[in-house]
């Protein structure tokens, strides 16, 4: 037990040390004391660009979508703690028993890690794989310490990267930046340049699979729709769960701005491994209110801890 406990600390410290700027920035918004993990209610008007579309540009690193912290991880998994006595599974609507904490004593790290591992996985919104992959997916998750590409500092990929922390917008393209992230996983910085100029996808057979694929955007009303394919199969498509995919994965993301919030969902189609398309639980990020906010540098991700594993307990 103690060795596991020490390993947990090692991982947490390493991830934090490597990626401190991103974590610190996210914490700016985490100082708000909350007893729920529900998205913040939007406020303010939705600005528009001269061409009439919603202006999605800005630094979106507040509260909602990030990998840092159990409250957000639960929200991303579809568990909404709505009040101090009410919790709901967003996908199924099922009520989940909610209790006051049982003790004023803080949990030790081992207890907190084990609880967090359960809480991240309790949502019902799970992709349904073809039966021949059920054991594979389960084993990948059970062996995530070694198997998760992100634990080896590989790019998170799409849609696992979630909401970009920075959106740059022009009439004909978007720039998305995803800083390296500490916490649950440690991924390296990545970016996407997404044309919205009416072009069509390159034929799939002409693409070399990549981590972020070939993304083409278009507007559906006030919603930006980003259609992406041409992936490699080296990523998982959600934060946890061992959700592997094939090179035939097709992802459709939807971004909708409402005041100072940006809501994101992604639908994953992969007829090679999935029995049916899967859509993420909606995630909501808050606009950084500081007009001078910038993304600090993410330090290189360097994995040095896997050799210290003593069992399969994980984050």
């Amino acid at each position: 037990m103690m060795r596991t406990f020490r390993f947990s600390i090692v991982i947490a410290v390493a991830a934090t040390a490597c990626l401190l700027p991103a974590a610190a920035m996210a914490r700016q918004f985490s100082q708000v004391s909350r007893t729920t993990n529900a998205p913040v209610a939007p406020s303010g008007a939705t600005p528009r660009t001269p061409d009439g579309h919603p202006d999605l540009s800005g630094v979106w690193n507040g509260l909602g979508d990030n990998l840092i912290g159990v409250p957000n991880q639960m929200a991303n998994a579809g568990i909404a703690v709505e009040t101090e006595s009410s919790t709901r599974d967003v996908a199924s609507g099922a009520r989940i028993a909610t209790f006051p904490r049982g003790t004023t004593n803080p949990l030790n790290d081992e207890q907190a890690e084990r609880a967090a591992a359960l809480m991240r996985r309790m949502g019902s919104n799970r992709p349904v794989y073809k039966p021949q992959y059920w054991e594979t997916v389960k084993k990948l998750d059970q062996n995530a310490n070694e198997e998760d590409p992100a634990n080896n500092c590989m790019p998170a990929g799409i849609p696992r990267a979630g909401i970009p922390s920075f959106v740059g917008q022009s009439p004909t393209y978007f720039i998305f930046i995803y800083p390296g992230t500490g916490g649950l996983i440690a991924t390296q910085t990545s970016y996407r340049m997404i044309p919205v100029d009416g072009r069509q996808h390159t034929p799939l057979q002409d693409l070399d699979g990549t981590y972020t694929g070939e993304a083409i955007g278009h507007w559906e009303g006030d919603t930006l729709v980003v259609d992406t394919y041409g992936f490699n199969s080296s990523t998982w498509f959600d934060q946890i769960g061992g959700y592997m995919h094939s090179e035939n994965m097709h992802v459709v993301e939807r971004f909708h701005r409402d005041g100072n919030t940006l809501t994101w969902t992604a639908t994953v189609e992969d007829p090679d491994v999935l029995l049916e398309p899967w859509t993420t639980t909606p995630r909501v990020a808050l606009l950084n209110p500081n007009p001078e906010a910038v993304l600090p540098e993410s330090l290189p991700c360097s994995e040095r801890d896997l050799g210290h594993l003593v069992n399969k307990e994980h984050h």
């Binding site: 639960m74 989940i96 909610t98 904490r101 359960l118 809480m119 799970r126 059920w134």
Partner: protein, 316 residues
């Protein structure tokens, strides 16, 4: 395999593995566990319901919270149990199928693998039964069956996940078994605590002979079924009593005993306590005696999609 032996295995597999019922041929369970009626409750010590249920949930490790990376946020505790998988082995008994009048019910060596979820309510029970008295009852040829239930759908699979992909096995609708299969889920220790919490003020807590007793009605498809659960000194669910209407045996009182609680995870410990020994009796006869070998309680990836032909069967 001799017909009689095969039939015996089938009966045992269908009737006894189960944490509760006689499977495909049985009907909707009916009330109730007996001692939980109002008359008896009035003379018992009434306990604080919330405290009793919380203690039972805590004893199983169901109630958890974590502040990792939470910053200033401080979320309440929640019930973290959703999916779970367990493996066990032991003995099942052919319910009411003695070879001679007065003889014990025939025994079968049984390997059991259970995958379950509470959200949505679903359970897949995979069993392999072998006749342990082959000389008297026929050759010991294992019988492998997979029984699944999800909400209002029940079916048997020729292999795990059968019927979902064309050409990959067969899913056979068994709608009549739906309620009894669902009941297996809700009389497991976690199901008891969840259902008792969900029943709100319909749940009664009391003491009987110095032990804590929880009595509550199930709802939804299982409305009309009352469950009586007895806690042990550590507030763990020790015994669950229900009564079902079995077409072959009439109204049948079933009691399931859980003991030897521990975190049965192997390389992934969760601090969720699971019974290491499950014994079930029906009408006073043993029908199930299982030692749990391993449990994955870390909300593993388990899914229960309903095959199209099963959905269609439910419609018709």
């Amino acid at each position: 395999m001799p017909t009689q032996a095969k039939n015996m295995l089938m009966v045992a597999a269908v009737a006894a593995i189960a944490f509760h019922s006689a499977g495909a041929q049985s009907r909707k369970p009916t009330a109730n566990a007996g001692a939980g009626d109002k008359a008896s409750l009035a003379s018992e010590d009434i306990l604080d319901r919330a405290k009793t249920l919380r203690a039972a949930a805590d004893a199983l490790g169901m109630v958890r919270w974590s502040d990792i990376g939470a910053g200033a946020s401080r979320l309440p505790a929640v019930d973290v149990v959703n999916t779970m998988e367990l493996w066990g082995s032991g003995t099942t008994y052919g319910s009411g199928q003695a070879y001679k009048p007065g003889a014990p019910w025939p025994a079968f060596k049984t390997e059991i693998h259970v995958a379950l979820a509470y959200n949505p309510a679903a359970m897949r029970v995979e069993t392999t039964c072998t006749n342990s008295d082959a000389s008297a009852q026929g050759r010991a040829v294992p019988l492998h069956i997979i029984q699944v239930v999800r909400d209002k759908y029940a079916w048997d699979e020729s292999a795990i996940g059968a019927g979902l992909v064309p050409g990959k096995g067969t899913a056979t609708p068994v709608m009549a078994a739906d309620n009894n299969r669902l009941l297996r889920l809700w009389i497991l220790p976690y199901g008891v605590v969840k259902a008792a919490l969900a029943a709100g003020d319909k749940t009664k807590t009391s003491t009987e002979n110095g032990t804590t007793v929880i009595t509550f009605p199930l709802s939804g498809q299982l409305a009309g079924v009352t469950v009586k659960a007895t806690l042990d000194a550590k507030n763990q669910v020790a015994k669950v009593e229900t009564r079902t209407d079995n077409p072959a045996l009439g109204e049948m009182f079933t009691e399931t005993e859980y003991s030897d609680y521990a975190d049965h995870g192997e390389e992934i410990l969760t601090e969720i306590k699971s019974p290491g020994h499950i014994v079930q009796k029906r009408g006073g006869h043993p029908v199930l005696d299982i030692q749990v070998k391993k449990v994955d309680a870390n909300n593993p990836y388990l899914v229960f999609p309903v095959p199209e032909n099963v959905k269609n069967a439910a419609v018709h």
